[in-house]
Amino acid sequence: MHRPSTLAQLPIGGTALIHSMPTGRVGLTRLRELGLTPGVKVEVVRRAPLGEPLQVCVRGSQIAMRSHEAAHILVTPAEA
């Protein structure tokens, strides 16, 4: 149940808590600055018509990213 999966694997409409993401990578640092820090709640809002990128809602803002980045972000299920 508590095995972390990645943000890219979350289904559309799914909600989770950010567990961790690798440090020292420029793109991921920018995502952190946009509010995706460990412990925060994210929701996968939708994917673009062609499957990518995916749109997440975090701290009230809507951020789009590609699966390439999302696959590095580990998440744990949000407590119900």
Partner: protein, 723 residues
């Protein structure tokens, strides 16, 4: 009345926080737009007056998410606020614009700026959306915690403007109470060491706080850092030392900052358990729907292109007619001679050639403005990102490239919306490969020469579509090559914020359209103007006296025939006149140049007459048709009708009696025109937008080189195969 030093206030905030709307509201559009020297970031300055008649100077800094710069825009914000730009004075005060409906994320940049210690006013903008989401913000408490005035506002309606102006002009505007959290010990030690080094080499001045080296070290692209090469190694060394002392230091600092912001928000912000569904969410269900979203994009683009190609036709015709009328007026008013020819054929023609693009450019910029202002632009990029990712670009490159099918000039200018410098440069480099509307007349002429009327219209249309496809494929191919090989620097990951939809401000959009149109006219106009005069001179001089006397005699003969009522005979003189003109062109500098480059273009199957056409169309491709009409002495009848010219070039033969315009030569010419860079306006804009002659020449070389090689390949292989 104004004091010698009216205070300079910087307006700062996240992208989409309504910063520019506020700036327009304050200045009442009394603003100047220029570029920061060395980078293509717009610098907007303006002024406003407080209620008590005090003058305030304003500067609208680029939108940013963080002082850890990731793009030239963000580097400009950081450098101006730190007083690191020689061309811009350090602001005396700061107005931070926050999107109240996205408070946590907006407070990230705001907290960084508050820590710089400048007297500050905080604007809580978009209060209406926050209210619609049933958020309650304790403004008094927020002002208390930050130590600066906080003004709730709605910049779109002007609500709160008086309070803001009063706060901005306060003599005793306080410095913020918010201070940075103490840095972890390892980071602090490492920073102090780097600061000492940077101070010794003069990269930062002595009074610089630790924050300045901190933000310099977090800038991973040395192009942004704005410091001398010698000091770059110090910055790199400093970063390595920090990384060693405290791996993941940047990410730790981000997290610490958000922890403090969360604590602040828990004291000032109350959210309902379930937020009502916003208008943006409702719209996105349709506009980003897997099927409806795609259809909407398609429909929107068809509409846009209809406007650009069909609706723009009317005004373009008026402009051409207007200049033609002006030309005939000058012809009547002035005595014949070189000066009249210079004004009519050189200057008026040249200006007309630039201005004629204005309708298309204005329409395109207006639509880009609407898309940016409403928030749809981000959705378009979101939908198109996957498609563009195949060649290594991201969704933001879609619209600039698409615009280039109308005209590469607005396309290249629209590439400003791409924040990654590498993606932006690639987009600028490939955009002119999209078959623009200026290529259309050339395609039409050559296709009609290649395929007789008996060939089905479908085959012609098929060839036309293939030419567009070839240009597109070429553009994508080169994008892929540039991305993989030639350009240095890692690809910035595609990260896109999708802002709330809002109603566009037509006034602000029109202002921006006017600013961009002016930039086009000034930059492209001056260059094209000069080039058209040069090309006019080259095709006019030296003059052959015998030919001039002959032409004058013909004109006199024509006039007397017309006066005596023999109109048919007068019209017949046109052909003789055209023949004289053709001889004059053949012995002019341009004609001689055509002979000169013949050895170069013979392997492509072209003769010296086509050479003149190539030279004549160097400034603008559509001139090929006009030049060839003069070369082949086709008397100019109806402008739009190419049939006489088509018939004439089909009759053109070589010394051995075979036609010059064989199918193979037509094909080779068509491919040449798909790839060749023959547009001085685009070159001028590329120079302006990349800030370098180098990229302009590179683009000219790679496009025209490809055009030459492909045309060569087609003609040589085709000839070898016996076509």
């Amino acid at each position: 009345m104004s004091a010698p030093h009216s205070p300079l206030l910087a307006i700062v905030g996240n992208p989409n926080s309504g910063k520019t709307t506020l700036f327009n509201l304050l200045t009442g559009l009394r603003q100047k737009v220029a570029n920061y020297p060395g980078v293509t970031v717009e610098k907007k300055i303006g002024e406003c007056w407080s209620q008590h008649g005090k003058k305030l100077r304003l500067i609208d800094l680029p939108g940013a998410y963080s002082l850890n710069a990731r793009s030239p825009d963000e580097a400009v914000l950081r450098d101006v606020l730190l007083g690191r730009r020689a061309d811009t004075p350090r602001p005396d005060r700061v107005v931070i614009v926050l999107d109240a409906a996205n408070l946590e994320r907006n407070l990230y940049l705001a907290s960084q700026i508050l820590e710089l210690g400048l007297p500050t006013v905080v604007v809580l903008n978009m209060m209406d959306i926050a209210t619609a989401k049933q958020w309650r913000i304790d403004v008094t408490q927020l002002a208390e915690e930050l130590g600066v005035p906080v003004i709730p506002m709605q910049a779109t309606t002007g609500q709160g403007l008086q309070e803001l102006k009063a706060a901005m002009s306060r003599e005793d505007l306080p410095q913020p109470r918010w201070h940075s959290a103490p840095l972890p010990r390892d980071i602090l030690a490492s920073l102090q060491a780097t600061q000492a080094q940077l101070m010794a080499s003069g990269a930062v001045h002595e009074r610089a706080s630790l924050l300045e080296p901190l933000y310099l070290l977090s800038d991973h692209d040395p192009l942004h850092a704005g410091i001398a090469d010698a000091q770059l190694t110090q910055v790199a060394a400093g970063r390595d030392a920090l990384e060693k002392a405290y791996p993941g230091w940047e990410d730790q600092l981000v997290q610490d900052r958000y922890t403090r912001i969360e604590a602040l928000c828990s004291r000032i912000l109350t959210r309902p358990d379930r937020e009502p569904v916003t208008m943006t969410q409702k719209l996105d269900r349709w506009l980003l729907h897997p099927i409806c979203g795609g259809l909407f994009v398609f429909g929107f683009l068809v509409f846009l292109f209809y406007l650009i190609f069909k609706v723009a036709e009317g005004p373009m015709g008026w402009i051409e007619d207007g200049f033609a009328a002006l030309g005939s007026w000058v012809t009547v008013m002035m005595p014949p001679g070189d000066l009249r020819d210079l004004i009519v054929d050189g200057a008026i023609n040249g200006v007309s050639g630039v201005v004629v693009f204005l309708p298309q450019i204005l329409i395109l910029f207006f639509f880009i403005g609407i898309m940016e202002d409403t928030g749809y632009m981000a959705r378009l990029a979101f939908i198109m990102d996957r498609l563009m990712s195949f060649v290594g670009l991201n969704g933001k490159a879609f619209l600039p490239f698409l615009s280039s099918y109308a005209c590469a000039v607005p396309g290249v200018m629209a590439a400003r919306t791409i924040d990654s410098p590498k993606d932006r440069l690639i987009t600028i480099l490939i955009s002119p490969l999209a078959s623009c509307s200026a290529r259309l007349p050339v395609y039409l002429l050559l296709i009609s020469a290649l395929m007789p009327d008996s060939v089905s219209p479908w085959a012609r249309a098929g060839l036309m579509v293939s030419l567009y496809a070839l240009g597109t494929l070429g553009a994508f191919g080169f994008a892929w090559i540039f991305n993989k090989g030639i350009l240095r620097g890692a690809n910035a990951p595609m990260i896109l914020e999708m802002p709330n939809y809002k109603l566009p401000s037509v006034k602000a959009i029109l202002l921006q359209v006017a600013q961009r149109a002016k930039a086009f006219l000034v930059r492209a106009g001056t260059v094209i103007f000069g080039m058209s005069i040069l090309i006019w001179a080259a095709s006019t001089y030296p003059k052959d006296r015998a030919l001039i006397t002959q032409a004058q005699a013909l004109v006199a003969k024509q006039e007397s025939l017309a006066a005596s009522g023999n109109l048919a005979a007068a019209a017949a003189v046109d052909e003789e006149l055209a023949a004289v003109k053709s001889q004059q062109l053949a012995q002019s500098l341009a004609g001689r140049a055509g002979h000169l480059i013949e050895p170069l273009i013979q392997p492509l199957g072209y003769d010296w007459k086509i050479g003149i056409g190539l030279i004549g169309s160097f400034a603008a491709r559509e001139l090929f048709v006009n030049t060839m009409a003069v070369v082949y002495a086709v008397s100019s009848g109806e402008e739009e009708d190419m049939t006489p010219l088509r018939d004439r070039i089909q009759q053109e033969t070589r010394a051995n009696g075979r036609p010059v315009y064989s199918p193979l030569v037509c094909l080779s010419l068509l491919v040449f025109y798909v790839f060749a860079m023959q547009c001085v306006s685009t070159m001028a804009i590329v120079k302006r937008e990349t800030g370098s002659y180098g990229w302009m020449w590179f683009q000219l070389a790679y496009m025209s080189g490809t055009a030459y090689l492909l045309a060569l390949g087609i003609y040589q292989i085709g000839s070898a195969l016996g076509y």
